[in-house]
């Protein structure tokens, strides 16, 4: 009783005090999450891979072993050698340079899809568990109906007026994966809404937005993370498919999907050129999934004992 009163008084007297402590607690928690992420084997490997990926992307913006426009006409389809680490393709362009430049494009797509999916998906969840039953009902059936529209239709729709573009890939992927996220995360959000502290907060007249932000969001964060990582990983796969069909990344911009597509038609003659883009895509997808798993485990107090104690 007395304890409650004192904290309340503290808050009333000086909001800054509370803000300061919560910031400190947040920092401490971030430290714990980061530490447990890096002590897990999957988290460590995935983090190292992502760091490397970011580093390579940044380097590729200013330097690649060969310029992308450079073609070595005398060395077409050459095997890996000291001058061309992964060989050259049918035009004599350096495969390694194109893959390096492609990693920047791919990073852009992955990050954009992750951010847009997280924002749109979570707002969709917020709408679909809202207090107003009319809004709730309409949003749920609409999302359920829209989820069956495939990515390729959206991509074609974007490609029709603007031609193949990175933005089209991002829009198509984010659209499909946000709906997917809403559908998967909604049950845990409903569980959170039915909990007594949300009922209590509603009785106190706290705004719906604040309730969602402080009480419901922390509950659904683990499954949101898993879904966002799945979405951004699948975006890489979708990019390669869309680019091959000619509605993804335009052909003059480097991307892993483009490298795979250019090699695809000659695979029976020169299999090695098709090998590397496929390997790098597969590894990247696995790593993003691992990162999502590890992050979920370390951010969830139910699975991370140290976070619970703090």
């Amino acid at each position: 009783m007395t304890k409650n009163e004192t904290t309340k008084n503290d808050t009333v007297r000086n909001g800054a005090v509370r803000n300061g402590t919560s910031k400190k607690v947040m920092n401490k928690r971030m430290g714990i999450i980061l530490k447990s992420l890096l002590t897990r084997w999957d988290g460590l490997i995935a983090s190292i891979f992502c760091m490397l990926w970011i580093a390579v992307s940044i380097i590729s913006l200013v330097w690649t072993p060969y310029a992308l426009t450079f073609t070595d006409g005398y060395n077409v389809w050459s095997a890996p050698s000291s001058s061309h680490i992964l060989g050259t393709d049918g035009a004599g362009a350096d495969v390694f340079s194109w893959l390096m430049a492609g990693s920047a494009t791919e990073l852009l797509i992955v990050c954009a899809v992750a951010v847009i999916t997280a924002v749109c998906g979570v707002s969709g969840v917020a709408v679909s568990v809202s207090r107003n039953s009319g809004v709730r009902g309409i949003s749920v059936v609409t999302f359920d109906a829209l989820i069956s529209i495939p990515i390729i239709v959206i991509a074609l729709l974007c490609a029709a007026p603007w031609g193949a573009s990175i933005v089209g890939v991002i829009i198509a992927c984010s659209f499909a994966y946000s709906l997917n996220l809403m559908r998967v995360v909604r049950p845990s959000a409903i569980t959170a809404v039915r909990s007594p502290y949300v009922t209590f907060a509603r009785y106190k007249g706290i705004s719906e937005f604040k309730i969602f932000w402080t009480h419901i969001l922390p509950q659904i964060i683990p499954s949101v993370i898993i879904n966002v990582s799945f979405a951004s990983a699948t975006a890489i796969l979708a990019e390669s498919g869309l680019t091959y069909l000619g509605v993804g990344v335009p052909s003059h911009i480097a991307s892993w999907g483009r490298s795979l597509s250019t090699a695809a038609n000659f695979v029976t003659i020169h299999p090695s050129v098709a090998l590397w883009p496929g390997v790098i895509i597969t590894v990247a997808v696995i790593m993003i999934n691992l990162l999502g798993d590890a992050l979920r485990e370390s951010i969830d107090p139910l699975t991370n004992a140290e976070l619970r104690r703090s």
Binding site: S148, V153, P161, V267
Partner: protein, 356 residues
């Protein structure tokens, strides 16, 4: 004695009446849900048609310019536009397009002059068997391996199945197709037994052409199916484990089942609604892969006409094709939703409860 028997009888009669009433009410509820779901389907389709029509007209440049060619005069271009009705106001064009579709008239491709309906059915007759084959491979591989990865008594089997699903689910469909060509492709692979290019001309008259057609669909179907199987397996596995957390498995085991039996009967039955909804989403996500492998294996499915119409800016054809694709997938969503209500009594009970 007699009195109590009479009371019993009246009570029984009352109960049957009550049961009948609830059944009737349930039926009414079900019909209401089905009707509202179908109404939603129609509204969705209408919105999609609006989006498709106006999205395709954001930029100038149309099929008339392509037909006229680069060296034609402005007058000729104008006359072609009038002929095709492209100079009418957009609303009018939209209205006549929608009215034609509602009456079942899909129009003709303005470039080749073929009837759209005929053109699409010939292509769909290749694409749909491919989709269905991939779906069968997906389910036939995904669900048994999921059960196996939960029930196996060896830790290494469980772990390696999980690792395998992670790796297989991360392969792009295009690359899977390329790898399969390198392994099984006729003429180039290590075990060259399956055709990798083309498809016999339609209609498939004899048994041998039918078999050739099936053979040429195997590699494409497998290259899409394996990847989606890995995804279905992952979801099914987690659905089975959820059931285990809810103690259903433990209860079945107290009733005398072994662990594997309990997972196979109770666990799968409980996970079935989730598996169906995942299968529905997979169905939609599979189409990108299907179109990719169609192009890769040079199969004359809908991918080819869709992409060529797109690059020729044959907008009337593209908008009809996109609308039909969207309609098909919205329909799949509708069916999945209905199926889920049909097999999951919990959903129906919930609905009856909320309606009362």
């Amino acid at each position: 004695m007699m009195q109590t028997a009479g009371v019993k009888q009246t009570m029984q009669a009352k109960q049957t009446v009550q049961a009948k009433q609830t059944v009737q009410m349930n039926q009414r509820n079900i019909i209401k849900t089905i009707l509202s779901r179908i109404a939603l389907f129609v509204v969705m389709l209408w919105i999609v048609s609006l989006v498709i029509f106006f999205a395709l007209r954001i930029l100038p440049g149309d099929v008339a310019a392509i037909i006229a060619g680069t060296n034609s005069s402005v007058e000729r271009y104008r006359s072609i536009r009038t002929q095709l009705g492209l100079d009418r106001p957009l609303i009018e064009q939209y209205g006549s397009w929608l009215w034609d579709i509602v009456r079942g008239n899909l129009g003709t491709s303005v470039i080749t002059g073929q009837a759209m309906g005929e053109r699409l059915t010939v292509r769909a007759a290749v694409t749909f068997p491919l989709i269905i084959m991939s779906m069968i491979i997906t389910l036939a591989m995904g669900i048994p391996t999921a059960v196996w990865s939960v029930t196996s008594q060896h830790a290494w089997v469980r772990t390696s199945l999980r690792v395998m699903s992670q790796i297989l689910g991360a392969i792009p469909a295009l690359w899977a197709g390329l790898l399969l060509v390198m392994i099984f492709g006729k003429g180039s692979g290590f075990i060259g037994i399956l055709p990798t290019q083309g498809f016999p001309a339609q209609p498939l008259s004899s048994v041998s052409t039918f078999l050739t057609a099936c053979a040429s669909l195997i590699l494409p179907a497998v290259s899409v199916g394996i990847i989606t199987a890995a995804q279905v397996m992952r979801y099914t596995r987690s659905a089975l484990l959820d059931g285990e957390n809810a103690n259903h498995i433990a209860w079945s085991m107290t009733a005398g089942m072994t662990y594997a039996q309990a997972v196979r009967t109770t666990g799968l039955r409980l996970a079935l609604p989730q598996i169906i909804s995942v299968a529905g989403v997979t169905f939609a996500s599979m189409i990108t892969g299907v179109l990719t492998v169609e192009t890769l294996f040079n199969i004359p499915g809908i991918a080819t006409i869709l992409l060529s119409d797109m690059s020729e800016r044959d907008l009337p054809a593209v908008q009809t094709e996109l609308l039909l694709l969207a309609a098909f997938f919205l329909l799949v969503g509708l069916v999945i939703d209905m199926l889920q209500r049909l097999i999951d009594p919990r959903l129906r009970a919930q609905q009856a409860h909320t309606n009362q």
